[in-house]
């Protein structure tokens, strides 16, 4: 297991190299980009020297790496604020949305997959498979718009977007995750309000992942139910429900867990679009705005942060897989 943990380090290093490479693929002269269109040739040279842009690339990379390790992600071209600050401001919001979506995915997807497997080729299975097929083809940004239309415009059940604003009660900040904070500070109104704001963007974000989890759970459950040890359990007189919930579940979950890491990653990507549409003040909106403004430092900074978070998430998934699978656990 230690081997797996150590593997992360060279990969993260590679990530920094890649990000550096991408950042420096910007066509044109970076010094000029910073200086601005109207700057004179001299100003550009001064800036070039100041930012060390005249040094050879490997040296620039090491400088870059040094900055990274100190937590310095550079400054936004647009706002001149340190990128790291911008990101940290908005990270809790994205985290909350992602975790909420993850929760929805698991809570909806796994039971749906299990039910589909249990009643294979009957109505619940057909419904589930229809959901998987359609859900997997819907563009999330379009769905977000439709969701707003239906739930806000037509039905008026849920808000248009946003996390804070007029009429929304927010709790005291403990972790930055409003739902969690509301519970911790025993603030009922804040809890209701924050859940209300979270619901629509969370559901839209969760869709793609839910279809994946449903599909995987169904497939692996079907695979497991075909196994000999299930027949042996039946021969012991075990009831159908126990077979599914106890005997099959544990084995069926193993492939599904390995997929969770991947899903988290695609969710991080999907969050960009969803946040933007719902005006959710997270990293995604920051990224989307930076794209429009061509604020490369911000985009690169966000990419690195996401890559690191994603790597850690995959690490956690791999480790928990090792823990859960007795064969791997006792290989020592």
């Amino acid at each position: 297991m230690a081997k797996r943990v150590l593997q992360v380090i060279p990969v993260l290093l590679g990530v920094t190299v890649l990000t550096f490479a991408i950042a420096h693929s910007v066509p044109g002269d970076p010094a000029r980009a910073i200086a601005g269109i109207y700057a004179t040739e001299e100003t550009v040279e001064v800036i070039r020297a100041k930012w060390g842009l005249d040094k050879p690339l490997p040296e620039q990379y090491l400088v870059y790496l040094g900055h990274l390790l100190r937590g310095d992600l550079g400054a936004s071209i647009q706002s001149r604020r340190p990128v790291a600050d911008d990101i940290m401001d908005r990270l809790p919001a994205t985290l909350e949305l992602s975790l909420f979506a993850l929760l929805l995915m698991v809570v909806v997807g796994i039971p749906m997959g299990m039910i589909a497997a249990r009643w294979r080729n009957r109505l619940p299975d057909h419904v589930a498979r229809l959901f998987v097929i359609l859900g997997g083809a819907i563009p999330s940004f379009w769905l977000a718009l439709v969701a707003q239309l239906v739930f806000f415009s037509w039905l008026g059940w849920l808000p248009f977007g946003g996390r804070t604003g007029a009429g929304i009660v927010t709790p005291e900040t403990v972790s930055g995750l409003y739902v969690l904070d509301s519970i911790l500070t025993l603030n009922g109104t804040a809890l209701v309000h924050s859940l209300r704001q979270l619901l629509l963007p969370g559901m839209v974000l969760a869709l793609a992942g839910t279809t994946s989890i449903t599909r995987m759970t169904r497939a692996s459950m079907l695979e497991v139910l075909r196994q000999d040890y299930i027949k042996a359990a039946r021969a012991k007189g075990v009831s159908g429900r126990t077979i599914v919930l106890k005997h099959a579940f544990k084995n069926a979950m193993i492939p599904t867990i390995t997929v969770l890491g991947l899903l988290f990653g695609s969710m991080l990507g999907g969050a960009f679009v969803v946040e933007w549409i719902f005006a959710w003040p997270g990293i995604g909106t920051l990224a989307a705005n930076s794209i429009t403004n061509l604020d490369y430092t911000v985009i690169m900074g966000i990419s690195i942060v996401i890559a690191i978070v994603y790597s850690i998430a995959n690490l956690l998934v791999d480790v928990s897989y090792m823990v859960l699978n007795p064969k791997v656990r006792y290989e020592k």
């Binding site: 593997q7 060279p10 990969v11 993260l12 590679g14 990530v15 190299v17 890649l18 990000t19 991408i22 950042a23 693929s25 910007v26 066509p27 294979r120 097929i133 359609l134 997997g136 083809a137 819907i138 563009p139 999330s140 940004f141 379009w142 769905l143 718009l145 439709v146 707003q148 239309l149 415009s153 497939a219 079907l222 990653g265 695609s266 969710m267 991080l268 990507g269 999907g270 960009f272 679009v273 933007w276 549409i277 990224a287 989307a288 794209i291 429009t292 061509l294 490369y296 985009i299 690169m300 966000i302 990419s303 996401i306 890559a307 690191i308 994603y310 790597s311 995959n314």
Partner: protein, 304 residues
């Protein structure tokens, strides 16, 4: 010994072997076609993709209007008999734009998938056959790329390279190749352990010949399945990039971009962003269904 090999190399014998192989392949193809068409969902996917390709090719003929002709006075009209799907904010006919957009999406999807395969498959083959040091290095590099969620990486690259469909394809290719490399490498490693590879080696096949003749055909199945399913996902990614404003620029009728443009009017003039979204939905659906069907043929393990 030499007598036996002479017999196996006589012209008649070789010709007969060839004939038998062709017959076997034809029978297999017929069986595959039968399997493919047996599932109604797969047929639906086939039909959708077929119609899509036709639309893309025939757009200039069947579109009622030019996709870029605009007249502000006609803006934001609801679907009617003159504009079947309505008009957008510049007065352009949405139906025509969607029809032309099919070609764009298909082109991007196809080129991207081909590029990804062209990069990923050879790398995967090398990683699987070149020895463990090379393998480890390649896999670490792939891991680095895989540390980014695909959309994020493609986004970063596309933004940095600037706009244009070409850069979108490059971005998608850079973000997508590791999946294929990993897939192919895994298959190669599995196939290498099969005893018929040893048999081939013993009978004197060179390494390259072994790869081309024995390893590759056995690994291509899952790759083809992956590719067909990826078409849908790639088109979705490309549309997402379009939605974020990367890639094409107005007035190119890219579906994602159209949704972006129609976003602010969505609550009242839903058709501007609504129909392109449905177009994306149907397209991705078609490829996914087709991919599922292909998987049922090429990967018998997944048969229920």
């Amino acid at each position: 010994m030499s007598n036996a090999s002479a017999e196996f190399q006589s012209k008649e014998y070789v010709a007969q072997r060839r004939r038998l192989t062709w017959e076997r392949r034809r029978k297999q193809a017929r069986k595959n076609w039968y399997l493919l068409t047996r599932n109604p969902l797969t047929v639906a996917g086939l039909v959708i993709v077929g119609l899509l390709v036709l639309t893309a090719l025939l757009a200039p003929i069947i579109a009622p209007y030019s996709p870029t002709a605009f007249d502000i006075r006609d803006q934001l009209q609801a679907p009617s008999t003159t504009h079947l799907l309505g008009t957008d904010e510049m007065g352009r006919d949405i139906l025509s734009r969607i029809l032309y957009g099919a070609g764009i999406s298909l082109r991007v999807g196809l080129t991207a998938v081909i590029a990804i395969a062209a990069i990923g498959i050879p790398i995967g083959l090398i990683a699987g056959t070149a020895g463990s040091k090379v393998d480890t290095v390649i896999m670490r590099i792939a891991d680095v790329f895989l540390s980014f969620p695909q959309l994020v990486l493609a986004l970063a690259i596309a933004t940095v390279l600037g706009g244009g469909l070409q850069n979108v394809v490059i971005a998608l290719a850079v973000a997508g190749w590791p999946w294929y490399a990993r897939l192919v490498r895994g298959m190669v490693l599995t196939v290498r352990q099969e005893t018929f590879i040893e048999a081939a080696k013993v009978s004197g096949a060179t390494k390259l010949k072994t790869i081309m003749r024995h390893i590759m055909p056995n690994t291509m199945g899952p790759v083809i399945v992956q590719a067909s399913m990826d078409m849908g996902y790639t088109i979705l990614l490309a549309a997402s990039l379009g939605f974020l404003g990367i890639g094409v620029k107005v007035p190119t009728p890219e579906w994602g971009l159209m949704i972006n443009a129609g976003r602010q009017y969505f609550m009242t003039q839903w058709w501007v962003a609504g129909f392109p979204g449905i177009a994306i939905l149907i397209t991705v659906l078609g490829f996914n269904l087709l991919g599922d069907g292909l998987r049922d043929i090429l990967d018998p393990r997944s048969r229920s």
